[in-house]
Chain length 246, copies 2
Amino acid sequence: MGEKHLTKIYDYELVYNYILELIQNKLDEHSKIPSENTLCQKFSLSRLTVRQGINKLKSEGYLYSRRGSGNFVNPKKIVYTISSDTTFTNEILKLKKKPSMKFLEIKTIKADDEMAKKLNIKIAQEILYVKNMRFVDNVPFLYAEYYINKSLLKDVDKEIENITSISKMYKEVYNLLPIRSGSEIDITSTNYLSKQIFKIQNDLPIIKIGTKTRDKKSKQTIDYCYSYFRSDMVKIVVDYKDKLND
Amino acid sequence: MGEKHLTKIYDYELVYNYILELIQNKLDEHSKIPSENTLCQKFSLSRLTVRQGINKLKSEGYLYSRRGSGNFVNPKKIVYTISSDTTFTNEILKLKKKPSMKFLEIKTIKADDEMAKKLNIKIAQEILYVKNMRFVDNVPFLYAEYYINKSLLKDVDKEIENITSISKMYKEVYNLLPIRSGSEIDITSTNYLSKQIFKIQNDLPIIKIGTKTRDKKSKQTIDYCYSYFRSDMVKIVVDYKDKLND
């Protein structure tokens, strides 16, 4: 902040912009980009500077490298639609990819101030805290923390052990009609999450989406959930479900 | 992982919860939090564990650090709601802040393949390309690139020079009912944008939202717009406008 009217473009940004343009308009997934040598000559820049531009594209998920053979274009991001009623499983199946899920932690905790407000329950009332990871074609894709309103779901701590989808459990075991009522989208940095959860080494922005799920019939809040997506793997599409949509 | 019914609170969570409570209830923006040493002593924990708690708060955007001088409380983010019919001006006025807008560029271009598809017009048909910056209390907040369907808006290149809000122009000058039909949310890195547009020096994830605006009456596409937000200043709230919402 503070510096006004900076107009300098750094040398490595020339390389960055040039390759980004290639990726967006000319190169297919898994195509090889021009070699470092070629780029050095094209822009009359040092190898260090060229590498800086390439590394930025790698850190943003546009490129990956294979040792000894150069840099390649990463597959396009997964387009993940959120609306009042989409579910992970359906969204991934639509893409003709394989969804799967693994619980990382399930425990009963007491609602703090904030969570009591979000779930519309009393402070210190028992809630079920659930962490899980969801995979797309076996690659870790979506990490989530659920705060589940136990009072609506009898014996949920036992039921949850036998399921493969939480929203399916709401529908099939508890006969609820889960519907999202608004999402909060935030970007967090990643050190903690990327390293601990996604097992990636570099810094990478993480998209954090907080969503309240309610039962369409009783209008009670079923859960509040924080979902975390790797920003290099996903593009979020919001469907407002307006009648105007085609 | 995989242990079920874990009730353990990890040591670092003690630190995390303690500081989060301070941030939410006691400390002001830009206040310094207790030092690592103080926290080590208070909880009888190792520096590594204390740092784990602090890093989680940093990764969630609650704290920032200044080298050599410790960790500080980040200002609260602006909550910006998107739905099928919110506008910048209204959203910012709701927060009791002052919205303003400045055009950076206005020019007529020919639609390329992608934009023709998005606007549902012919390739090479003329569109108005508009760049503007919107400010909240005079701080650059939202940078946008509009691709406007000129065929719906007679003499828009002249009209636009006298306005303070594009959506207002659609309504008041052209008697249209602009409504959003879906948004695409993506995270881009920042070098180019942050330096050129937001005049910030460090790397910072930028939230990029692509939105199509249509006329509710004729159902024709009025514009396609890319909006860019600084991720450290904003939290995006999606309003699905479901009847269930309270």
